[in-house]
Amino acid sequence: MTARLCWRKFVSGFMLTMTGVCALVAVSVLFFILGYLVYHGGTSINWNFFTKLPTPVGETGGGMANAIVGSAKLLLLASAFGVPIGFFGGIYLAEFSGHKVAFVVRYAADLLNGVPSIVIGIFAYALVVLPFKHFSTLAGSFALGLMMIPITLRNTEEFLLGVPRALREASMALGASKWTTIARVVVPAAYRGIMTAILLALARVAGETAPLLFTAFGNRYWSPGLGQPTASLPVVIYNYAISPYDDWHRQAWAAGLVLLGLILMVNIVARVILARGVAVPRS
């Protein structure tokens, strides 16, 4: 074996090992984040964390009950706004639209998907906060819902298009109208895929902080109704992390652990379902 060949083989082996190292580094970041959050946050989670309101600065104890409820409210309302638009829009794209309209809608959705979340916040501020003159759950939900639309829309379209043509034809041949076919055959066949896509969209916006900063704002107390500023987990984590108080830092870790735990759980469940194949019966 010549020296040159030796060298080439060495370079090959070396570079390929390096790519493996790159992959290892990238993946280990996840376990590092998880491990650190469990280590730091785990000790700060207790019953009070879930049931108590925040205490004034200087008093230890207290929890984030209002932020947890606030986040839940924001997400619920965001889904109520974003999911129907995405879902029915997706049905239109997959079942009814022509090429030109579909292109425009898809383009708009992709554009919306790429807008930085802070800019979404500005938009929600201009559209909802300015007219009502104060921060509210409503404005925050609008911002989050807006971010759910493109994900829901594109996934609904994709899963509907994945339903075999034969199913539609069989239904139509039995005399069902197009709408009946869509509602009773096509959507049920793509149901699991669409549901997991919605779950992923929800998990994505659950951790969003930037669009909430000047829409939902924050609140040290409960936020009744939808017209008041509200606390939310991500914003509380941000505020507590940049505060100078040790006790708040501990609570930020705990909240981070809870938030990340929920998001990763939803992601794992959704991705396992997707990987097993979404039940589209093949002929």
């Binding site: 080439r8 083989k9 090959s12 082996g13 570079m15 390929l16 790519t19 190292v21 790159c22 992959a23 580094v25 990238a26 970041v29 996840l30 984040i33 730091h40 129907p84 995405g86 879902f87 029915f88 829009g89 049905i91 239109y92 079942e95 009814f96 425009v104 809608v105 992709d110 554009l111 919306l112 790429g114 807008v115 930085p116 979340s117 802070i118 800019v119 500005i122 938009f123 201009a126 559209l127 639309i149 829309l153 109208s177 709408w179 009946t180 869509i182 951790g207 902080t209 930037a210 900063l213 000047f214 991500p234 941000y238 992390a241 981070g256 990340l260 998001i263 990763l264 992601n267 991705r271």
Partner: protein, 315 residues
């Protein structure tokens, strides 16, 4: 007679469904247009007052109502550049491993973890940035860089821990999953015969990967980098938490700085006066246009490769 009216009723149902779903789809387009219009209208005041000099002046003084965006634009570009310098080699290396080397049994779970990493919210990255990366930078990395590469203006000045370099590193960690996922997919779409031909000509495994497969997928990989760049430019929380939030333009990467997204996040709620608010919204408009262009280019490039890939695969 009755059957005809029944049929027409059904057809009517179809038409109703068509119209209703169309309204939902149209609202997506409408809301997107509205977003652009709002950003444009709400930033009219500073656009008329400062014109193009908004981007070229460096004084940001809300009390004197002087608004120059240069320090924020500088900070955004520098942090994104640092992020890409770190994330691109690491991300592409990992993508090559996942697509070319790792057997499917290893590649799929690793990709699963990478996807999970992409799902971690940015405020969590910020949290870890503040409490882990900043101290490490201050105690270890910045002094080490100063001792070895301190003759470069890039690595001079006091080591605060926060600043351009730290923000760039945190951003890099955040965008790596995007580069890996997209690049891996693009690499896997390169037809098998390309690799086999290179190997048959006597190239080593690395040569076939680096000189044949990667060039073949070049456009798509560039697309993934643009996508990562768009993410890095628009990223708010993690950057805000570690960049230092001081509008400075400094050659030193150790210096605290500011970015477009960070200044919006910090000052929006306390912006008094229409001109101040308008200036922040104009920054949002800049951010929007930047990501709009980058995302468009990224999509075009990925489309080009995957089409070429499948086209050659058929032949």
């Amino acid at each position: 007679m009755s059957s005809r009216s029944f049929l027409s009723r059904l057809r009517d149902g179809d038409e109703i469904a068509r119209v209703i779903t169309f309204l939902f789809a149209a609202s997506v387009v409408l809301v997107t247009i509205l977003l652009v219009v709002e950003l444009w209208m709400q930033s009219a005041l500073p656009r008329h007052k400062f014109g193009f000099s908004f981007f070229l002046t460096r004084v940001w003084d809300p009390i004197a109502e002087q608004f120059g965006a240069l320090p924020f634009i500088y900070g955004t570009i520098v942090t994104a550049a640092v992020a890409l310098l770190i994330a691109v080699p690491l991300g592409i290396g990992a993508a090559i491993f996942l697509a070319e080397l790792a057997p499917q049994k290893l590649s799929d779970p690793l990709e699963f973890f990478i996807d999970l990493l992409a799902a971690v919210p940015s405020v969590i990255y910020g949290l870890l940035g503040v409490f882990i990366v900043v101290p490490i930078m201050r105690e270890w990395i910045q002094p080490a860089l100063k001792n070895t590469l301190g003759f470069l203006p890039l690595f001079q000045g006091p080591a605060y821990g926060i600043g351009f370099l730290t923000a760039g590193i945190v951003l890099a960690i955040m965008v790596i999953p995007y580069i890996i996922s997209v690049s891996r997919e693009v690499l896997m779409s390169v037809p098998r015969d390309q690799r086999e031909a290179a190997l048959a000509l006597g190239s080593t495994r690395w040569e076939s990967t680096w000189k044949v497969v990667v060039p073949f997928a070049k456009t798509g990989i560039m697309g993934s980098i643009f996508l990562a760049l768009a993410r890095a430019l628009g990223e708010t929380m993690a950057v805000t938490m570690v960049i230092g939030n001081t509008p400075t333009i400094s050659a030193s990467l150790f210096s605290p700085g500011y970015s477009i997204a960070a200044v919006i996040a910090n000052e929006f709620t306390e912006a008094t006066g229409d001109l101040y608010l308008g200036a922040l919204i104009e920054l949002g408009l800049v951010l929007f246009l930047l990501t709009f262009i980058l995302n468009g280019l990224a999509r075009l490039m990925m489309l080009l490769t995957t089409q070429r890939g499948s086209g050659t695969g058929m032949a």
